[in-house]
Subunit: 574 residues, 2 copies
């Protein structure tokens, strides 16, 4: 009987079986040799006596073993197959392995570059391969839910049209026409809107997307998103579908029951209470405006800021007395956001130590700290203009969690963030740009004056946030031509430029467009969170490294001169 | 109550409903107007009296209708919603449509270029959209089957390594390094083999693949394949999985019961009996060697060919007396394959008419025709070297079916074709190349001398054929280093060249490779056959036209000089 290594168990005792797998360990004990043989399903112990030829056999070699399943005298509870072992009657080496360039075990000391260069060995480690297997199962359950809800899975083109600015598209030359290029899509945005014009009503796709951008540690040049769009709906319809889809998939794959509907937070509240637009709600440390407690303080810096319409805000950490070292770690992380922070510790309701402990009046400090309802702990403070104070404290809040580990690693804290600004102000150019993209509908309250009061205009946009990461975002789209024209005008596009950039979508809207909206979920990041991986590279089978290089393939790599000739191209002289 | 147009039925009579959809027809009858309003689920009739404002309302506009469902006096049996209609109490225009550039109905006179340019309207036609919806459902059932069988769905990179010859890869420049390129994969072949080295055991992926080739009518620069690979298996294991997967998906999506296992044909038999390597088995017209009947014939051409070790082969068509016109159509199609054909008709067992009826002896002709067991009908003949005779008659056989429509359009005739030649002889270069790819294992019988007797070497390769189309192919791979070296040598690759081209795969095989094999199924073509579409363009949401142009996007298109600058490229001067 042929069995997978990990599926041999006590039901097969006294049966003849054949297994095939990779040798993980070879231990010789006198005339007996113990072999651990493994496959995707697990590991089984094989005993070979001296009649079995094992000369030169190496770890990671692929073998076929025939033998009889027998009960172990001393069962190993840690192993699925621990109640049995296989007494080998014949062993055949299918592929003899050389010494591997890295340790192929759950714990390895290999550097990431070595792991990526030999990804086929890295993926042989259960802890790595299991994440890819989870990815497969999880995405399949997302699909199953959507297909049951009558969503249509539509493949949109990878060879598409370059956007005129072109900075971040990958472009693809073709042998069939000189100086003509395809572009790899940054998202299927326009295609999915066209599918709504075509009457598909409910669309989804697990879509590969591409961005030729400067690489950050948590980005990949190609990434995968779950892309969705629906017609005749409002924000809540999209939100309910996404929640139910996650509920289904998490139950099926992780046996988790999550609460739905998810919490919904106003964008302004996010910024005010958590200092970020993607708050990690697994721990509290909520920011509070403490200005009232520091009015007229002898600490000149705070007092001047308050007189200058600034704010003093802070958050309190119950029970923890922050050390100077810890504070310096937090400060280093937070001051990237533009402002200095300060801290004061308290014992039994009274000021104790801290960077500004000696400067601030006892009464003011104690009252501010006590306003959180705590007696002993640490108060982190920041003063200045509201936006920068929020951002700085938001970073400090994250740094404190990094130190004290308040967040439960097993918790999934989903939240929606809604009511986003419609525009983003660019301090360099002094101009407003679309915060999301120019097809995002203004909120109903902003419809009248979004183009004249850009600073306050709000969007029918929604992000979904999990444990401090943005895992997706979407919006209700503009489908009214006059609003779309005002929008283009607001971001400084002439009608001619708008037509050149988005003409085929705008033309489509002339022939009967339903109201529609959608969302895109970043699957790499979501699966990274669910598998508790350190980087998105861990949940991608063959990732690029953090510099955008595929070390296994040694790509990107040079093309031949003839190859470029065929494409009517040459490398530019400097 | 909100309902989809196509889901309003007699259960809702006397209920207030709201529907949203596209106006397909507007008929004014005195003071009453009938509106046909449609969505993906179907069409419903709305009656509006003169209180409802309908000024300027156009076909294809998107409207919201509130009203009461009432029974129709004269039900329309052809319509799902034909027992009812909606008495409109309020109508709101959500999007007013301009006159469409094509008729948006199942039957349209629009040329394909117009349809592709306005694909969002073409897709609004039920006959087109339904094919894309079928595609979604069918592919989802393929996935479901494979996931249940513990296959892992792994996404492999789109940005991969250019193959050194590079002729047919799309290459992709990047801003991050001058003269460095990614390549879009022609298939995930090497990645899936690496996944076997990594121990995934069973892999699949619905993979987008790319080829920058000269375009034929039934090819697209990007296409979709179901890619699979398994470890520790033989041909029959792959074949059984594919059969069961199709059985499952066809039952679920089309309620079809297909017979499994599929027929298995030897490659040589295909060529001898059908003249092609992808026979359409829905009709017979089997080729037979008729040489014996024409030995010593007075028809010099046949006689000389037979004396020169050639053959006379043919097939017979029962009951059909081919006309001269029909024969000319068949001949035109067949002679592309290199030889002339001839025909003779028979009535009641006796020679009647035909291109060589007067030249061939009655007795020989009648005996040859009667050998098929027919009395009345047509005999198609061809003489020459075996290979060309087969190819010519294979084409003639297809042409005859095109005329007489023997094939049942509802039948699905699957067959495997096995025992393929390992090499292909290139008459131009006088060299042998790998018929499939150089990782295809020689058959067990060919292992000894495949590299010394290339003409007769056979491969462990298998194609799956449906109704005369190759819908997929695969093989058991070489995993033995010494056989792989002999294979590279046989196709003229030096060890250095082999290492440069396939080094990372060969290196991986040094660390424990399981025996493995797989298959790739061309989904565009398969779904074209299942939906009885005319071209694969009909089953792709946003296809390129037959010249490889996306008419809707107007792509590929020119890149800006600055865009190319960023990529360190310039267009080559002639």
């Amino acid at each position: 009987m042929k069995l997978y290594c990990g599926k041999v168990n006590e039901k097969f005792i006294n049966k003849q079986v054949t297994i095939k797998g990779w040798i993980k360990k070879i231990r010789k004990m006198g005339s007996i040799t113990f072999l651990d043989i493994s496959d995707r399903y697990g590991l089984v112990q094989v005993i070979a006596d001296e009649t079995i030829k094992l000369d030169n056999l190496t770890r990671e070699s692929v073998v076929q073993v025939k033998g009889t399943v027998v009960a172990r005298k001393t069962p190993n509870d840690k192993l699925k197959t621990g109640k049995i072992e296989i007494k080998c009657s014949a062993l055949k080496v299918l592929s003899l392995a050389k010494t591997t360039p890295m340790i192929v075990e759950d714990v390895t000391d290999a550097l990431e570059d070595i792991r990526l260069q030999h990804r086929y060995l890295d993926l042989r480690r259960n802890v790595v391969r299991d994440k890819i297997i989870f990815r497969s199962k999880f995405i399949n359950e997302l699909r199953n839910y959507l297909v049951k809800q009558d969503f249509v899975d539509v493949e949109t083109p990878c060879l598409a049209k370059p956007t005129p600015e072109g900075a971040r598209d990958y472009i693809v030359p073709t042998r069939n026409a000189p100086n003509h290029f395809w572009a790899l899509p940054q998202s299927p945005q326009i295609f999915k809107q066209l599918l709504m014009v075509a009457g598909f009503l409910k669309y989804f796709q697990i879509a590969k997307c591409f961005r030729d951008e400067d690489l950050r540690a948590d980005r990949q040049p190609e990434f995968t998103q779950l892309d969705m769009e629906m017609s005749f709906i409002e924000e809540k319809d999209i939100m309910r579908v996404v929640e139910k889809m996650f509920k289904h998939a998490l139950k099926k794959t992780m046996n988790l029951e999550i609460q739905t509907p998810f919490r919904v937070m106003q964008y302004d509240d996010c910024m005010n209470f958590y200092g970020v637009d993607k708050p990690d709600l697994r721990y509290n440390l909520k920011l509070a405006d403490l200005s009232q407690y520091f009015e007229g303080t002898q600490f000149k810096i705070f007092n001047n800021i308050l007189l200058d319409k600034g704010v003093v805000k802070g958050f309190a950490i119950d029970q923890k007395l922050m050390t100077k070292n810890e504070f310096e770690t937090v400060q280093k992380f937070a001051t990237d956001k533009g402002l200095q922070i300060a801290y004061i510790t308290f014992k039994d309701g009274h000021k104790f130590e801290g960077s500004i402990a000696r400067i601030i009046e006892d009464g003011k400090a104690n009252t501010a700290f006590n306003s959180f309802g705590f007696k002993t702990g640490t108060l982190i403070l920041c003063a200045g203009k509201q936006d920068k104070v929020n951002a700085t404290l938001g970073a400090a809040r994250i740094a404190c969690n990094n130190i004290y580990k308040f967040a439960n690693p097993d918790e999934l804290a989903f939240t929606w963030v809604v009511n986003w600004p419609l525009f983003e102000y660019d301090e360099e150019t002094g101009k407003y740009a679309a915060a999301h993209h120019p097809f995002t509908s203004p909120s109903k309250q902003s419809l009248k004056n979004f183009d004249t009061d850009k600073a306050n205009a709000r969007a029918r946009a929604y992000d979904i946030v999990l444990n401090g990461y943005e895992i997706g975002g979407g919006s209700i789209r503009i489908t009214n031509t006059s609003i779309q024209k005002r929008m283009f005008n607001a971001i400084g596009l002439t009608p001619e430029q708008a037509q050149a950039k988005f003409g085929y979508l705008l033309n489509a809207f002339d022939y009967g467009v339903p109201p529609h909206g959608g969302i895109a979920i970043g699957l790499d990041r979501l699966i990274m969170i669910l598998t508790k991986a350190d980087t998105i590279r861990d949940v991608i089978a063959f990732p690029k490294n953090s510099h955008g290089i595929d070390l296994m393939l040694d790509a990107p790599s040079a093309a031949s001169a003839e190859g470029l000739d065929d494409l009517f191209l040459q490398v530019k002289e400097k």
